[in-house]
Subunit: 335 residues, 2 copies
Amino acid sequence: MQKGKASIQFEHPAYIVSTASVAGKKEGEGPLGKSIDVVEQDPMFGSETWEQAESAMQKQAADLALEKGDIHRREIRYLFAGDLLGQLIATSFGTVDLEIPLFGLYGACSTMGEALSLGAMCIDAKHGDKVMAIASSHYATAEKQFRFPLGYGNQRPKSATWTVTGCGAVVLSAKGKKGQVKVTGITTGRMVDLGTKDSMNMGAAMAPAAWDTIKQNFQDFGVDEGWYDKIITGDLGEVGKKILLDFMKNEGHDLSEKHTDCGLEIYDNMAQDTHSGGSGCGCAAVTLCAGILPRLLDGTWKRVLFVPTGALLSTVSYNEGQSIPGIAHGVILER
Amino acid sequence: MQKGKASIQFEHPAYIVSTASVAGKKEGEGPLGKSIDVVEQDPMFGSETWEQAESAMQKQAADLALEKGDIHRREIRYLFAGDLLGQLIATSFGTVDLEIPLFGLYGACSTMGEALSLGAMCIDAKHGDKVMAIASSHYATAEKQFRFPLGYGNQRPKSATWTVTGCGAVVLSAKGKKGQVKVTGITTGRMVDLGTKDSMNMGAAMAPAAWDTIKQNFQDFGVDEGWYDKIITGDLGEVGKKILLDFMKNEGHDLSEKHTDCGLEIYDNMAQDTHSGGSGCGCAAVTLCAGILPRLLDGTWKRVLFVPTGALLSTVSYNEGQSIPGIAHGVILER
């Protein structure tokens, strides 16, 4: 059922019946390390290139999610998947062996929100009985794509985030068991561009988009922060979090007790020297599987607004002096 | 309603209530020139960079589709949009002013098929009353992204295609008028990789994906080529078309009378020196709006299987010696 301007409340919520998280060594040493299904010590994932490593990680996460749920890949009607790389090459090569009809998505680091949204829409409409949402990022492919060669050893400003090496895979199903987490609603983000141009401060670029989507969610569902046990953005980091809380405060919403950010959950920023926090499609995806869903399942939280955030820049747009528009996709998770 | 392994037959087909096509000078000089809504003589579209030009073209097409249909942008529930550029920058900057909730898609040149599919799924499910599908490409941004600097003046092999400078925008609606074209079904493609590695022969890379999707469509709906007045692939060009027809013949399907390819419709390959044909997201999108839909509307055809095709490569994957997987999304258009 359409709610307000940009939201849907599902008549037939999608059950999250299986998940898998695969991540790198650094993520394994972070606060979520013990809950991540596979912590791979080899950053190359046994492959010859960084990009193939990311594809291998996607394949591993998808296979594991199927295995954990005792689901055959042929039962998955659609794949909603994406990554950060130009032309989605991590996803193309990572999912080819699955032979599942694929909708390739690009929402930058918001991709897990986009994939869950479209996946849940598909389940709600009975267009599929089971679908899978996948999103990944890899520190080395992202640095190569967006920043500097690793061997260059450049200094990073304190506002920069650290791209998570990780992949999350989530199987959504029309049928589930009592006690499983459901996607009960979504609020789809629009592009928001307040003119931020600093690619080393993506939190600032994305915070206005998170603000826009959360505000819209409150409006569309006629609720406020009190309705949620937690509101969890994707990868705003320390810098973006402050901006979001300020923006929300100006609207009369105090999120200080309710908000956290996947980028602040996945690393111990002080001990792991990750500056503003974690980022990348894998940040929200892994934190969802290894941090958020377990706390919904154990009853710590009952209702979470999960808001992966994306910064829509490329080196081309950046080098041409363009700003960095952001987007954020809201997903309501309930047990 | 789910049909077979990878298809949906819509209970509530989406009406195509408005379209717009905007293209460049070369496309304007081609066989579809007179039917293209706006033929822009300035390849820069009044902008400072090629990428901004492509964004401006998207904005122009979206605005025109709204204007032609007398639709306010606030009536559009979702935007399903994409382009060929890394991190979808043409779309991000092209759609920001529309302020419509956005699902960013990457299916390479198959993007219009992906966008129409998800858009029609959304309409069928009553998740939106009106949605818009947009896909674009620009010769100069694509050459810069995938091939050589324009000033380099490199020679192109005969198997290479010419990236279309063009954008198509399509408004899908739950309500329509008699005589309007509807999206009545879809067959969603999966990644298909037969190991083609020649980036100057994308037709060969994509033909197996087109074959896979068309075959699946026949199987899922229990039909054959006789059911369609026309089967129209995206941008296989001369080379890919031959492969597709051979593959289909081996399966007992003679498509020689029924098949054409947008890449062969949009240019006069001999006169315009475009070698194997046209390509790019804009190729299928513009041919849809300026070539296919008019012939459905005037009764020339009653039922078309539209199959935009995509080659999922990037310069990174290509330079690392990877193959070029393809994908093709089938969309059934009926009047």
